[in-house]
């Protein structure tokens, strides 16, 4: 039984996800598409179960597992095997730890793999080729667990003597209760374990993200694919206008969510995704009704898109990474990525998959050239994995920057200790101890050593530097312009944490008269508000220097923020902006492959410091915050 219009749900999920990955600036919330797929999966699986139960009076677990497996696994393997050779076109950072990425995808544990590496900020800095397969991990677990639960349930009910209609009714009721309980349980688990600093756990873990499947299952117990005659009669009298309204509103809200619901907002994971699931559930019911109300078949194109949606999802991300690397025009790259992914998916779905389903003997697939070709591709793939670096240069450079920073900081302490010792002895030797009115004295040499060549006004004041991983890379060289600055630069810092650190310093009275803030590469939801709070809470006499963050992969979002930062210079004369983003954009190839960091690249760091020094001198002219 083919339900018309269900294609629309798959397409809606696909469009939002592709929109998010290709045009993240326009669809910052498009990842909700994944949840649409989840709900629909839960719905279909449970519906199929009921149909089998109704027709055959039982449920065969093995057949169910086999069916699911053949559906998911072959396209996944085909996608990985065919995309691997192309990753050679990308900088080596993309292939960091590639063998494990591939193993995680094939082993259906990408979600746990991500949770593991999500613990380390450095590891997140390199784009992962198969990160999108995390959804399969969840699907896989759901299929496994739900199938087993349903099987046990039917087995038990049959033992109690239920058969036929009674069995069906009783199962339906218990499955309903079970699905409601598991949905609620999963949502409670999500809310209880939610930690804004550890979003990846809430998002990737099965326990906290399984509820969409079970919400889909609830719908299947009430309005399944196969419905009773009574329901049929009721649906065929249901006004079409009402259906259009009740499917229009959820679609509208889903689109709004994908346009405005940024991932970093804690609303997104705690509420928006749950809302997405509920809206999808409503859509499923509405389209199921619409099926009864319409006689014309749905347009062929919808069917093709829905059929290939799973494979398109599989292909689109690696395809996009390769294409967008060579094609900087986002729109073109997006369109081209879709065409390529769709072509590949159609070939897989219509050309190869029927073989696994035993639908028809696909003779050409069994030919020697194909086997030979397959062997070559697998061999190349193994070669690519074997030669891939275990660690990205970006991550390595961040670790190295931390070492350099430690050496500089320890050396500075050593110099200061030595200086203290020398000064004390020098005063002791040069002071006229029996003429207290003359005060203390040191040798001329000592005085020369003590005075520095850098602008006195700034140096004689106090300076605080707050920064993210970009600043961490600069710190080893920072001492050349600000030897005494109080530096709080940490990998993974964002504007939220900078604001917190700033306020802490203000409260403790340890904030410098000159404050340099360099953050924003880790985008947070309300950076402009954070900046305003920093400006407002700065004590009297403070001078602020903001550095514009740069991320070659996320230019548009940051441009908006940087324009805002620059506009502040005209508003406050005690504030200056070191425009790093504009400076580095035309020469971004000097950065590491992530297009953010340059830890360990001394020439870049010195340019960065020059910009900083200019801005510092500029604000030094003002009297500070009035």
């Amino acid at each position: 039984m083919k339900i018309k219009w269900f294609s629309l749900i798959r397409i809606l999920g696909l469009v939002t996800v592709l929109g998010y990955h290709f045009f993240v600036k326009s669809f910052p919330g498009g990842f909700i598409g994944v949840d649409i797929f989840f709900v629909f999966s839960g719905y279909l699986i449970t519906s199929l179960f009921f149909i089998e139960l109704e027709k055959s009076g039982s449920f065969t677990l093995l057949t169910y597992y086999k069916r699911r497996f053949i559906r998911i696994f072959p396209p996944l393997v085909i996608m990985i095997v065919t995309t691997l050779p192309f990753t050679l076109l990308l900088p080596s950072d993309f292939r960091a730890n590639l063998a494990k990425q591939v193993a995680a995808a094939i082993g259906f544990v990408t979600n746990r793999f991500e949770i593991q590496s999500g613990l380390s900020y450095e590891a997140q800095q390199t784009p992962q080729l198969y990160i999108h397969t995390w959804t399969l991990s969840l699907e896989f677990l759901f299929y496994l667990i739900w199938g087993a639960l349903l099987f046990i349930l039917v087995f038990w009910l049959k033992k109690q003597g239920y058969t036929g209609k009674n069995l069906l009714g009783q199962t339906r009721f218990i499955v309903f209760v079970l699905a409601v309980l598991t949905s609620i349980g999963s949502i409670i688990y999500l809310e209880v374990t939610f930690n804004p600093n550890y979003l990846s756990y809430s998002y990737f873990a099965f326990a906290s993200h399984a509820y969409p499947f079970f919400i889909g299952a609830i719908v299947a117990t009430v309005v399944g694919v196969r419905i009773s005659d009574k329901q049929k009669a009721r649906f065929s009298n249901y006004p079409v206008k009402k259906t259009l309204l009740w499917s229009g509103i959820p679609i509208l809200i889903l689109l709004l969510l994908s346009l405005f619901g940024k991932f970093e907002s804690s609303w997104t994971i705690r509420t928006n995704l749950i809302l997405t699931s509920v809206l999808t559930a409503i859509l499923i019911v509405q389209f199921r009704i619409l099926h009864e109300r319409t006689t014309s078949s749905e347009p062929k194109i919808l069917m093709v898109l829905a059929d290939t949606s799973y494979s398109v999802y599989l292909f689109h991300w690696p395809v996009w990474l390769v294409i967008s690397h060579f094609l900087p025009q986002v729109f073109l790259a997006g369109v081209l990525s879709f065409i390529v992914s769709f072509t590949a998916s159609a070939a897989v779905y219509y050309g190869i998959e029927p073989y696994f389903h035993g639908k028809q003997s696909v003779k050409w697939l069994m030919s020697k050239p194909i086997y030979g070709g397959l062997a070559v591709v697998v061999f190349v793939g193994l070669g690519v994995m074997g030669t891939a670096p275990t660690l990205s240069k970006t991550e390595r450079s961040l670790h190295e920057a931390a070492i350099s920073e430690a050496m500089v900081s320890l050396d500075q302490k050593g110099q200061l200790g030595q200086n203290l010792y020398d000064v004390g002895n020098n005063i002791n030797a040069n002071t006229s101890w029996y003429n207290p009115a003359a005060g203390f004295n040191t040798s001329t040499d000592m005085r020369l050593k003590q005075s520095t060549s850098i602008s006195d006004k700034i140096l004689n004041s106090s300076q605080t530097v707050l920064g993210d991983s970009v600043m961490v890379g600069v710190v080893p060289y920072l001492a050349t312009i600000l030897p005494d600055a109080d530096v709080d630069a940490q990998v993974g810092l964002n504007y939220d944490s900078v604001l917190a650190s700033f306020e802490k310093h203000v409260k403790a009275g340890t904030i410098g008269k000159y404050v340099i803030i360099s953050a924003g590469a880790n985008v947070t939801s309300d950076m402009t508000a954070d900046v305003q709070k920093i400006i407002d809470s700065a004590p009297k006499g403070t001078r602020l220097v903001f550095v514009t963050p740069y991320d070659g992969k996320n230019k548009v979002v940051l441009n908006e923020f940087n324009t805002y930062l620059k506009s502040l210079q005209n508003k406050y004369n005690w504030l200056a902006v070191a425009d790093w983003a504009s400076y580095i954009e035309p020469q971004e190839n000097r950065l590491w492959a992530d297009k953010i960091h340059f830890a360990g690249k001394q020439d870049v760091a010195i340019d960065y410091l020059n910009l900083l020094a200019q801005s510092l001198n500029e604000v030094a002219k003002s009297k500070g915050k009035p």
Binding site: I3, L44, I45, S56, T60, T63, K66, R67, F69, I70, R71, F73, A96, A99, A103, G107, F108, V109, E122, R226, Y349, E353, G358, S361, T390, L391, K393, E395, S397, H399, E400, I403, S404, A406, M407, L410, D411, G414, Q415, L416, G417, Q418, L420, G424, N425, I427, N428, W433, P436, A437, G439, F440, N441, T442, K449, S451, L459, N460, D484, Q602
Partner: protein, 237 residues
Amino acid sequence: MAQTFKEKLAELEAKRRFEQEETLKIDSVTSDTSGFSEESLIQNDVEAAVSTRTTPKIKIEKLTLAIFVSLFVIVTAQIYALGDFSLMRQVSEKSLDQKFTYQGGMKNGRFSGDATITDSSGNALKAQFKAGRMVGPLTYTKSNAYTVTEKDGKTTITLADKSVVHQAAGQYTFNGSIFTYEGAWRFAGIWQGKMHFANGASYEGAWKNGLPDGKGTYTPIVGMPITGDFKMGELEK
């Protein structure tokens, strides 16, 4: 009629083919359980499920075998992806910017275990690493100058003549035979500190450029303590 050898062979071959086709048919019926566009296949699915049970033919299908092999691959991949099997090896590598040499353990491509880092001027850092990051105490040695040890936020600076300066939370402490000091210490800017000399004199107050500067109190060897404004060590009149 007696069969020739060739005819016999042809007959056998035909029989074999027939049997093979039969098995293939069963294969295609039992494996006709695709789930892709689940809706369209429901009819088939259920019939297939029923027919699997009613046909008690025990025959390992190619597809079933493939699935078992795949399951094995999946489990292996899981263990490999989530486990940690790499061994630690000892390396000596230059940093990406060629500024220092790392000598020590390496695991999963990340710095690991005990290591010594030496820069081009011969300054050395001894540290312990875990997954690329430094953990635990650090010891930095500048040749012929000082050794700086940092542990639990406390720093000990050992100078060439074995004098020891302590530093914790921005405060420096020194107890030498000629003088003692307690307070902040910086290269530039203004800070507060107390210095006592072995001859009995002392200063407590503001410092700048390595000399008393700003408000402070000078307790001389003889006479009353003097409180006043200092400029480059001298009392302002």
